[in-house]
């Protein structure tokens, strides 16, 4: 039976060249409807074996907690690991290049046809759905935080929500106020 055991994720990984980095991130960028993460994982861990699954999770956790777009951060973290500054630049260029071309074309079309009744109706439908998906993301993120008996995390989340959504205070202000409090609470209540 030992031969039938699923292959473990490879212990040794392969080092990509700059050209390979560019190509891989360009492909990931245009595959990434509804989040590029699953595609990035498939490409980097399963197909190319540039990282083990564990290394991928580590790098992605770091990218999520850094400010700015997660996938963009990931491209920089990943690229710099393999090729320093040039690697980071190349991975970033691959990730942003094709989507930028596509969205610029869409921007031109929208400026010309955005007033069409038909188009705006379609977009209203899509926005309503996309907002619903965002609420689903919130619910998924909130579930583990709210499940514990008493803890500080829901209070911080609610304060951030009220500050930004209801009071409409500037995000940097809310962040600079709440983040240190939240980090200290995380330190103390652990």
């Amino acid at each position: 039976m030992s031969a039938a055991v699923a292959p473990p994720s490879p212990a040794t990984t392969i080092r990509p060249t700059l050209a390979e980095l560019l190509r891989a991130f360009a492909i990931v960028s245009v595959s990434g409807f509804g989040g590029a993460l699953p595609w990035a994982r498939r490409k980097i861990v399963e197909q190319k074996r540039w990282m083990t699954a564990e290394e991928f999770n580590e790098a992605f956790a770091l990218s999520q907690f850094l400010p700015g777009p997660n996938v963009v951060n990931f491209s920089v973290v990943f690229g710099s690991r393999f090729g320093g500054a040039p690697g980071a630049a190349v991975a970033l260029a691959g990730l942003m290049g094709p989507p930028l071309v596509i969205v610029t074309i869409l921007a031109v079309l929208y400026e010309r046809f955005g007033d069409l009744e038909m188009l705006s109706r379609i977009l209203v439908g899509i926005t309503a759905a996309a907002t619903g998906l965002l609420i689903a993301v919130v619910a998924k993120m909130a579930a583990p935080l709210f499940r514990k008996r008493w803890n500080w995390a829901p209070l911080v989340a609610i304060a951030a929500f009220i500050g930004v959504a209801i009071m409409e205070w500037p995000l940097p202000l809310v962040f600079v106020t709440l983040a240190p409090i939240s980090v200290v609470l995380a330190w103390v209540k652990r």
């Binding site: 700015g68 690991r81 689903a136 911080v156």
Partner: protein, 175 residues
Amino acid sequence: MNSNPLLALFGYFALLSLFAVGGANAAIPEMHRIAVEVMQWMNDRQFADSFAIAQVSPGPNIIIVTLIGYHVAGLPGAAVATAAMCGPSCVVAFLVARTWDRFKEARWRIAIQAGLVPVSLGLIAASAFVLTRAADHTIYAALITALTALVGFGTRINPLWIFAISGLLGLTGWL
């Protein structure tokens, strides 16, 4: 008011880049505040449309800033807004990536990571709120939002299908 729109785009988005913990989804309320309320570059509908276009475009959702930039100042606006939104956070990511592994087990690192999760949760919830207010003007649109939230929470269906169906529903004019 800042008379040069490129400078304003750069200043606002470069600052936002450093505080958008939770990515594009967390940055929506601040973008809305700047683009619709403070600078009055666009109205609610145009902002919601930009969000929708960014959602259905391939690639990172942060690309909504490219659309806002284009609306404000054409191609230079698109380039400046995108560079401003990605530049500062990329520099931070690059610098942190080099030192992070060394502090993997450090208690302060774990506290920072745990402390930022609820902040970004609150910001993403605020995004959903702001978008609902900007876009769902009919009971049917609100119903679509509620249904999609349930489907998104309970299943792992590809969002592209949901967008296609809701786009078609929108086309009928009920929303």
